[in-house]
Amino acid sequence: MKFQDDNETIGRVLSGDVSAYASLVAKHKNLVFSIVLKIVNNREDAEEISQDIFLKAYQSLKTFEGKSKFSTWLYRIAYNAAISKTRKKKMELVAIEETVITNYSTDEIGRNMNELEENDRQLILERALLRLTDEESLLITLFYKNENSIEDISNITGLTVSNVKVRLHRIRKKLYEEMNGLINKN
């Protein structure tokens, strides 16, 4: 399905074409749902909260100034709504300095992974992601799957740019460690 430019659609919605909002919902529902699901860990709750988020976003659409991308604005609403529903604490800043825990080659793990069948690779990724915390899984999904920039992730989560970098760096390492462990087990 091909979607229109978000700003164009927003213009149509604001000029009275309410039905145009359906294409914004269809375009962003998967990631909004994914963000919420990773935080609330319950599909039914995630569905309900996601619907509320789109409703809230529609009602606040007039306040969207277009300074950031619509998707970033929407994902920030989603993140904050999910956090407040679960009464979870927002991600806290982490120390920039860290010690290297393990010494391994990501290239080597990548090569080992590439020797596996596609289904097995996906299964290993899925299992490795389950071993990450909800926050870690969310950040790495935003960066590698949804291809959000570090600045976007900073806007969505409220973390500083440098903290997003540090976290992503750590999570990537942890993900490789988990995948390596799962490959060696099989």
């Binding site: 309410v18 909002y21 529902k29 749902f33 009602q59 996906q122 590698y144």
Partner: protein, 144 residues
């Protein structure tokens, strides 16, 4: 190697791109649109009182009050403030005479008593409370 250099990772990007999305139910979009068409439209009420601190006029007012205070004070360095002489010799006596005209009006009121002051203060507090904690107006959408 810099941490930033480690982040771009084509292998992970490729791996993630082949992962299916954890999507909501099939009729999600229809449900949202249904809710939108039946939900009341929120019309924002007046700006909350505390938000005026974010605007510039309280600071301008504070600056002007500080300026008047400095000009009318006897502090030695205030002699160098431009326009002080005009303010103290011309404008201030004029303002003084203007306000002195209102003085008989106030001094002629004989009925000001403690109960009246209590009633006035109470009314002010109720008005202030109403101003701070009023609820936003909600207008129901009539067109679809």
């Amino acid at each position: 190697m810099e941490k930033e250099d480690l982040l771009p990772d084509d292998f992970l990007k490729d791996l993630f791109s082949k992962q299916p999305w954890d999507g909501p139910s099939d009729n999600f979009t229809e449900n949202v649109m249904e809710q939108i068409l039946h939900a009341p439209e929120v019309v924002p009420g007046k700006k909350p009182f505390y938000l005026i601190l974010r605007s510039s006029w309280p600071y301008v007012l504070l600056f002007l009050i500080s300026l008047v205070f400095l000009i009318t004070s006897d502090l030695p360095f205030t002699d160098y403030i431009p326009g002080k002489e005009y303010f103290t010799k011309n404008l201030l006596p004029y303002l003084g005479s203007l306000f002195s005209g209102f003085k008989p009006l106030v001094s002629n009121i004989k009925i000001i008593s403690i109960p009246l002051m209590v009633i006035l203060a109470g009314s002010l507090l109720v008005g202030f409370d109403h101003f701070l904690f009023r609820k936003p107006n909600i207008r129901h959408q009539t067109t679809q």
